[in-house]
């Protein structure tokens, strides 16, 4: 589904990604771990199409096409979803309105009719119940005045409604208490299907207790320095990132 080969990306004059390669197949859950500043969030932003990052080398192929040629909205309509580390508060834009607009943008791209208002509401309420969200959040401004946990649940709600092919969750666990973490993890797990791939970007192993990855990759200085199964995350938890860094450079 996603093939990243020797990807190099800069912001301003600073090179953040320095030759990153990663292959993600449908049905797989990959965890990208690494210390602060290793390039985890940059990778997520580059896949989503953030204009501040310039790709200087390498290729990213998504469903067989060159992803880097697409605008962020085209990537979204093609099934890529980024759950933001810091979801944006958009005062005055109704949460339900954005959800519906996103779904319809994607449906239009797929040649489908706009979603029926009744169907939409039914679906939204169903997904919200799963995430332990009060339906009142539908009529609030997008993330406006939401707590950290509420914002992350709202991201997962969008993901659940949009049913992406490739979901990237950027530090979705940060700032969550244990109940919120469980609810979010349950939401994500409910979306694990053989057709869908998920990339979890996380600093801590904690999230992986709830969402078990098929693969764990360790990012350091813009490259994947070690890959393994979920036991790698436990090793990291025990030995710290220095262990990987030393292993990589040593």
């Amino acid at each position: 589904m996603l093939e990243i080969n020797n990807l190099k990306a800069t912001i301003g004059t600073t090179e953040i990604l320095r030759g990153l390669s990663l292959s993600v197949k449908a049905g797989e859950v990959h965890a990208i771990m690494g210390p602060n500043g290793s390039g985890k969030s940059t990778l997520a932003q580059v896949i989503a199409g953030h204009a501040d990052y310039e790709v200087t080398d390498g290729t990213v192929t998504y469903k067989g096409s060159n992803l880097l040629e697409l605008e962020p909205e085209e990537r979204a309509r093609e099934g890529i979803f980024l759950s933001f580390q810091y979801p944006v508060e958009i005062a005055g834009v109704n949460n339900a309105y954005l959800l519906k607009a996103s779904m319809n943008a994607k449906r239009k791209h797929q040649g489908l009719e706009e979603i029926d208002a009744f169907e939409f509401l039914k679906l939204a309420k169903e997904k919200m119940a799963l995430l332990g969200m009060d339906p009142k959040f539908l009529n609030r401004g997008v993330n406006e005045g939401f707590s950290g946990g509420e914002k992350k649940r709202n991201e997962i709600l969008q993901m659940a409604m949009l049913e992406p092919s490739l979901a990237i969750l950027d530090e979705t666990d940060s700032g969550l208490d244990i109940d919120a973490l469980r609810a979010v993890a349950e939401g994500v797990n409910s979306l694990r299907t053989p057709e869908r791939a998920i990339i979890l970007v996380t600093h801590y192993q904690r999230l992986l207790d709830y969402i078990e990855p098929d693969f764990v990759h360790v990012l350091s200085e813009g490259r994947i320095v070690r890959s393994g199964d979920k036991s790698l995350a436990l090793q990291l938890e025990e030995k710290g990132y220095d262990w990987v860094r030393e292993a990589a450079t040593g």
Partner: protein
């Protein structure tokens, strides 16, 4: 060659051709005053950014036509959809002529609507454009709400100008009095169409008696090639409440003056405004509140979205006179500039001559937040759609403050349609 001054002889002739009635005395007095003092120029501080010369030019062309009445064209194409979409008892002023049928049709208990010429008026030389209005006034509206009466349905003043000739001028006038302990909801709507050049000059005088309340919505959606100056002068009685909400979508050169005089204690004035300006539009909003006594409050928030080479002005003046203790005055003006060529001149002015006051002002000029735009795009919304969502939310803040319910839906549509056209033009 554009002239800064009206051709006074031709103006005198046009005034002489108007009917001899109870307005004759103020027409002549206003003409004499105008002749002596003229119209403001860019050298006047309050007119620094807005040049009346193109409007004077239209006026002179119209005077050259030598016709005292702008030919009456059928305005129903413009007025009917507005009257249908906004619930109100509509009074119609078409090409500066009050539609007597609309007066006759208005039958609300406690509300009296008459032609201004049925009464003696006293000349008021408060502003040069009011002189022009009085001098050339064919007739106007006089609306009175009795004391101890709250109206059941909003009153609408629908001003429609059809510019059928090469150049035309219209004078619009309404004097409105809200009696003690009474409430008035009023919607003032300006629209126009036609190929000719047009300049409309409007004067509203509103008096709130003790403990009265007026909720006033002004909507200006003129043809993009037409022009308007408008002055709303408000006097607030004791414990009265005034909420003005103004929307400017259309027009080429638009200048609005809102002057609120707080002469009695206990009153509260709120005025909000929204201006959406695109290519070749110039929209100038000047507000002035005179706090002569306290305690009293004034709060204003104007917002603007500018694209292309739009030019807007917001000047909010609050004068707290000596002895007006207990005054609380707030001003805010926020602008989104979506083009390098757009320009906003925003100027809050506080003049305070007493000690016990609370005054604040805040002005912002900015662009759309890039992070929010990216966020929306990652949700599948294209760049124009994302901009539309963010600008609509910005503008919605003012729509949400509407003090009269019936125009809400129409306004939301007007805002959305106008922003959509402005943003599509940006992309092209």
């Amino acid at each position: 060659m554009k002239s800064r001054h009206f051709s006074m002889d031709a103006l005198g002739d046009a005034i002489a051709r108007l009917p001899d009635d109870r307005l004759t005395a103020i027409r002549n007095a206003a003409f004499a005053h105008l002749r002596e003092h003229g119209l403001p120029t860019k050298r006047d501080e309050d007119w620094k950014y807005t040049d009346l010369a193109p409007l004077v030019d239209i006026g002179n062309q119209w005077l050259d036509l030598g016709d005292d009445v702008t030919p009456q064209a059928d305005s129903s194409d413009v007025s009917d959809p507005i009257q249908k979409s906004i619930d109100a008892d509509w009074l119609l002023i078409s090409n500066g002529q009050v539609d007597a049928n609309s007066i006759a049709a208005l039958a609300q208990d406690g509300v009296t609507v008459e032609l201004l010429s049925k009464h003696d008026s006293t000349a008021n030389f408060s502003a040069p454009l009011t002189d022009l209005n009085s001098a050339l006034l064919r007739d106007g509206l006089r609306i009175t709400v009795d004391a101890n009466h709250s109206i059941k349905r909003p009153i609408g003043i629908l001003v429609v100008d059809i510019a059928a000739t090469a150049a035309s001028l219209s004078q619009i006038r309404a004097d409105v009095i809200v009696g003690a302990n009474s409430t008035l909801d009023l919607i003032e709507y300006h629209a126009s169409s036609g190929e000719g050049e047009h300049y409309a000059n409007s004067v509203i005088n509103l008096t709130l008696e003790d403990n009265a309340r007026a909720n006033w919505v002004r909507i200006q959606d003129r043809d993009r090639a037409h022009n308007q100056t408008g002055r709303t002068a408000v006097t607030l009685g004791r414990d009265s409440q005034f909420h003005h909400c103004a929307f400017d979508f259309g027009g080429r050169l638009i200048r609005n003056d809102l002057a609120v005089d707080i002469a009695e204690p206990g009153s509260a004035a709120v005025f909000d405004g929204l201006y959406l300006a695109g290519e070749d539009q110039h929209i100038d909003n000047h507000t002035r509140v005179d706090h002569r006594v306290g305690p009293a409050t004034s709060q204003q928030e104007y917002r603007g979205v500018l694209t292309a080479n739009a030019r807007c002005v917001w000047n909010g003046k609050a004068i707290v006179h000596e002895g007006a203790d207990g005054t609380d005055a707030e001003q805010a003006n926020h602008n989104l500039l979506l083009s390098d060529k757009a320009e906003i001149d925003a100027k809050p002015e506080l003049e305070i001559y007493t000690d016990d006051v609370k005054c604040s002002h805040g002005t912002t000029v900015g662009q759309l937040d890039e992070t929010s735009l990216f966020y929306l795009r990652t949700r599948g919304i294209d760049i124009v759609g994302a901009k539309q969502i963010l600008t609509t939310a910005f503008a919605q803040t003012i729509v949400s403050k509407l003090p009269v319910e019936s125009p809400r839906e129409s306004l939301a549509e007007l805002v959305s349609a106008r922003l959509s056209r402005m943003l599509e033009a940006v992309v092209k």
